[in-house]
């Protein structure tokens, strides 16, 4: 579904991605794990059309991806950005409806809104509230719901569990699995490698702008080097 080939991206002189290749197939949850500054957000922002690659190719369902974010949304890629970026000055409902900005079929939009409310009952309760008044966890759910409203088939998620209490982290990962059940494909960027590897089918390990390992999530979770670097002393087997 998504093909990234030999992607190089720099910020001025800083080389953030140095030849990243990966693929995501329909229906998969693929995770990219890596430390701070590894280039995870850079990769997602490049896929979404915000950054210009110095080299390399991006292809989604046979279409080459350019540098127009709105077009990329139209092709069916949605992005839950790092830091959520919900529209704090608008209501929860307006946030969700903005997700459907490019869509015109009112019935389908209304149906999807109900689906999102079913997935996040909290949002339904707070429909008329300004998004800025929501808690961090609720804002994360709103950011996910808003992305789902675009009806994109591929959902990019940038550290959805960042800054949330452990209980909410658990909820977020459960929701990710639920989202896949809605028929979505997910590319999940996480620092919480332990949890991410639990829900993912396949994983890529990104270090300093390069993919250093890739494979089935369960194999990566058992890899001694990965366990030492990203999983600390936590027992992976126990969590699976």
């Amino acid at each position: 579904m998504l093909n990234v080939r030999e992607l190089h991206v720099s910020y001025g002189g800083i080389r953030a991605l140095r030849g990243v290749s990966l693929e995501v197939n329909e229906g998969e949850i693929v995770t990219i794990i890596g430390a701070n500054g590894a280039g995870k957000s850079t990769l997602l922002n490049t896929i979404s059309g915000f950054l210009k690659p110095a080299k390399g190719e991006l292809e989604f369902k046979g279409h080459k991806l350019g540098r127009q974010p709105a077009k990329i949304v139209q092709l069916g890629i949605c992005h839950v950005p790092e830091g959520r970026l919900v529209f704090t000055n608008l209501t929860v409902r307006d946030n969700l409806l903005l997700g459907a900005y490019l869509r015109t079929d009112r019935k389908a939009i209304a149906a999807d809104l109900e689906k999102v409310y079913a997935l996040f009952p909290r949002l339904k309760e707070r429909e008329r509230q300004l998004a800025g008044t929501l808690s961090g966890g609720e804002q994360q759910m709103l950011a996910m719901g808003r992305a789902l409203m675009t009806d994109g088939q591929l959902v990019l998620m940038d550290e959805p569990s960042l800054g949330l209490a452990p209980l909410l982290v658990k909820t977020v990962f459960e929701i990710i699995v639920e989202i896949r059940k809605l028929g979505k494909t997910i590319l999940l960027v996480e620092q919480n490698a332990f949890k991410a590897l639990e829900v993912a089918d396949r994983a890529y390990v990104l270090e300093q702008g390069k993919v250093v390992k890739s494979g089935r999530a369960c194999d990566i979770a058992q890899d001694p080097a990965v366990r030492a670097a990203y999983l600390g002393s936590k027992s992976v087997a126990g969590g699976m």
Binding site: P69, A70, C78, P81, L85, N89, L98
Partner: protein, 292 residues
């Protein structure tokens, strides 16, 4: 009491036109985070467009308004495309935008001086003579027109921003450009619309000021007032621009009425500075964290 009411009426009339100009500053600021100091030049062009529609083309009063609004809307969009878009694409620091805006303003003003000339022009009398008497109150016909036309234009703007899909897209982009692009919103188009709206309202304000006072190349300096009003109310907030404008105008008319008109502008700037010291975000402005 009569004097008080009279000042109130005058204040509301001037304040409504300040608001018409202030929302132009606020709209652009909310999206692009810089104060478009070329706004005054656009208002000046509006005054000339209205003047020539009435005198040269001999168009009716209402049509002249529309023509001036369309003309200045186009000028504002052109300004964005030619001057600001290249800066945006290069991600230039905001100081460059301000310098460019000032340069554009000087350019337009001098272009008018060079082509039309520096002389003052008087709008033809479009209204009957004499003020309207309301008991002891007398309301100038032009003042009444200023209030009514401004109120209608501002209401239309508010409805557009609050009720339409594009209006919501403008609000979303004001919060965060990246997030709104992730919704599929074409942020470049949002910027064009914002300049067109601000420009059109500037044209209406230009015609109103041309009618009330005179037309001359420096008439755009009057936007200093609406800039103060926009900062006072909170740059980037439309309700703030309205409240700030009306408050500033009321304070000005009361100062002129009860103290002396010599203090009027002084007070305006004192308010601006006091506001910046006490509450830099203005009455309704976005706080720094909102804008993060």
């Amino acid at each position: 009491m009569v004097q008080f009411l009279q000042q109130l009426v005058n204040g509301l009339s001037i304040g409504s036109v300040y608001a018409l100009m202030a929302v132009g500053y606020s709209l652009v600021y909310s999206i692009m985070n810089f104060s478009n100091f070329a706004h005054g030049a656009v208002i000046m062009l509006g005054a000339y467009f209205g003047f020539y529609s009435l005198t040269l083309l001999r168009l009716p009063f209402g049509v002249s308004f529309v023509l001036a609004a369309v003309g200045t809307g186009l000028v504002a969009v052109l300004l964005e495309r030619l001057a600001y878009k290249p800066l945006r694409e290069r991600r230039a620091p905001f100081l460059y935008f301000i310098i460019t805006a000032m340069g554009a303003s000087i350019f337009i003003e001098n272009l008018v001086v060079a082509t039309i000339g520096p002389t003052y022009k008087t709008y033809p009398a479009v209204f009957g003579q004499g003020p309207i008497q309301l008991g002891a109150l007398s309301i100038g016909r032009i003042d009444l027109t200023m209030f009514v036309v401004s109120a209608i234009s501002l209401t239309a703007l508010m409805i557009f921003i609050d009720r339409t899909k594009m209006g919501k897209a403008i609000q979303a982009s004001a919060y965060n450009m990246k997030a709104s692009a992730l919704m599929g919103i074409n942020t470049d188009r949002v910027i064009i619309i914002v300049f067109a709206l601000g420009g059109a309202l500037a044209g209406v304000a230009g015609v109103l000021f041309g009618m009330k006072y005179l037309v001359y190349p420096q008439i755009g300096n009057i936007t200093n007032k609406s800039f103060i009003a926009a900062v006072f109310g909170g740059l980037g907030s439309l309700p703030g621009a309205l409240i700030g404008s009306v408050l500033l105008a009321l304070i000005e008319t009361f100062v002129s009425g009860y103290l002396s008109s010599q203090y009027r502008d002084l007070i305006g700037f004192v308010i601006l500075i006091a506001m910046l010291v006490v509450r830099p975000t203005g009455i309704m402005g976005k706080s720094a964290e909102d804008k993060a």
